[in-house]
Amino acid sequence: MKGRSVARPDNMSGDKGAGGPRGSRQAPLLVAPGDDLGDSGGLEAGHGVLAINGRLRALKQGRMSNRDGTVSIEPRRTAYVPRPSDLVIGYIEGCTSNIWFIDIGAPFNAILPMSLGPSKAEFGGIRKVLDIGDAILCRVQEVEENHSSVVTMKGMGLRAIRAGSVEDIDPHLLGRLIGRGGNNLRQLKEDTECRVVAGDNGRVWLDGDLSGIVEARDRLNALLTEAKVEEYRGDA
């Protein structure tokens, strides 16, 4: 994140007459909900920011950034909200005769119809294919307005997870795990000789030798700790 243009509100003291966020090389600023981020003139409100009466206001706790004229907040914590085409790792939570209910870490369980399952399943016998508690790698196919979502296992690489370990990280830290152009993730795979699949819902599948999985898990924990320390320090 070094060298990026970062917005810095200059009216946190409540001086409404001050100007808007401007590009600077200073560390990203920590904000709390309700903080005034300055004049919105020419700037777009991105994630976690609301434009009200020509002013930008923070909606979440986190770090503020200004990238290409869009002021957004990278929240410290956030709930995963599914979007179509997201690759996610889910757990089977329940089923009927022809539908599985999948916990994808979102407010609502997703459904996996029998027709989108991993293999031919018989009506009433879908637990022989995927049973409650099984982990699956799937893709969000559809999200309705009321937040119901449908996932599919039809697609390249989508499968039931039968080996390895699934770890949880905060969804907003995925970018840090993957790195620019996937550099960090590639490095992690090379160093640990593990298969590493990062789901958009913050679940990471690690598969390989036990020693490799343990090392990869340690690195994930280190990443989480580092992110937390940096956030509290207020730098990138």
Binding site: A32, G34, D35, K60, Q61, A79, N109, E231
Partner: protein, 238 residues
């Protein structure tokens, strides 16, 4: 400058029983992340009040009849621990806790962007560990920090504080004796960045001038408490 029966809450120099002047707030400290299994949590000590608030969700609202198709609902539960006061409190919901849960939910609903999570529920648990006075205010304030800590989008945080009247003198942030022996109290929920009011209750009688004075004290105290809320969120004790 008199007292009420044998209890004199303010001396002739305007100094209160705990040594504060009439416009001073009790010491406030907030820390976040005190409940690791919750999505967001905060602990607030305010004078002798000790409050823990934990937030879970957004999650699917159950039972289904409480779901709203266009927004999330806030399920707030305010509870005083049996050991939180000198008299043991009977465990479980009672009329008072039901009322406070309701007004807290309504105060918080005015800032949480519930429309982003239709059919969902955000569960807010407020537990009073030690009660002095103004536990509803401490509960609302702690819940507000816990919601922010959970990453729930909010247009502002709610700061709640109560001023009141003791021996015909308006004082800020009542302590236990002032709450028990005072003549009126005015708890308010205020949005610190806009100065908007989202919650107001009044017990007892205040003249228009006294009401204005209590209002001003609350507005001033809001800034002190808000500064501590922001410090807890930005500087964190996680």
């Amino acid at each position: 400058m008199g007292g009420y029966g044998d209890v004199q809450c303010i001396d002739e120099n305007g100094i209160r029983l705990d040594g504060r002047t009439k416009d001073e707030v009790r010491p406030v400290h907030i820390e976040t992340g005190v409940v690791p299994v919750a999505d967001g949590s905060a602990r607030m000590t305010w004078g002798l009040n000790d409050v823990i608030a934990a937030v879970y969700g957004p999650m699917e609202a159950h039972p289904r009849k409480i779901q709203r198709q266009d927004r999330a609902v806030l399920d707030v539960r305010y509870n005083m621990a049996p050991f939180s006061t000198t008299d043991r409190i009977r465990p479980g919901f009672n009329r008072r806790s039901r009322e406070i849960s309701k007004v807290t939910a309504e105060a918080l609903e005015s800032v949480v962007l519930t429309e982003l999570y239709p059919r969902s529920k955000i569960r807010v648990e407020i537990e009073i560990i030690c009660a002095e006075a103004g536990t509803r205010c401490a509960g609302i304030t702690a819940a507000s920090v816990a919601l922010a800590h959970a990453g729930i989008p909010m247009s502002d945080m709610v700061v709640s504080v109560a001023s009141g009247k003791v021996h015909d003198i308006v004082v800020c942030d009542l302590n236990k004796e002032e709450d028990n022996y005072g003549e009126a109290d005015l708890p308010m929920g205020i949005l610190p960045n806009s100065g908007e009011l989202v919650f107001l209750q009044m017990d007892g009688d205040l003249s228009p001038d006294q009401f204005q004075e209590a209002w001003d004290y609350n507005m001033k105290a809001t800034q002190v408490i808000h500064a501590e809320m922001v410090r807890a969120l930005k500087g964190g004790d996680e």
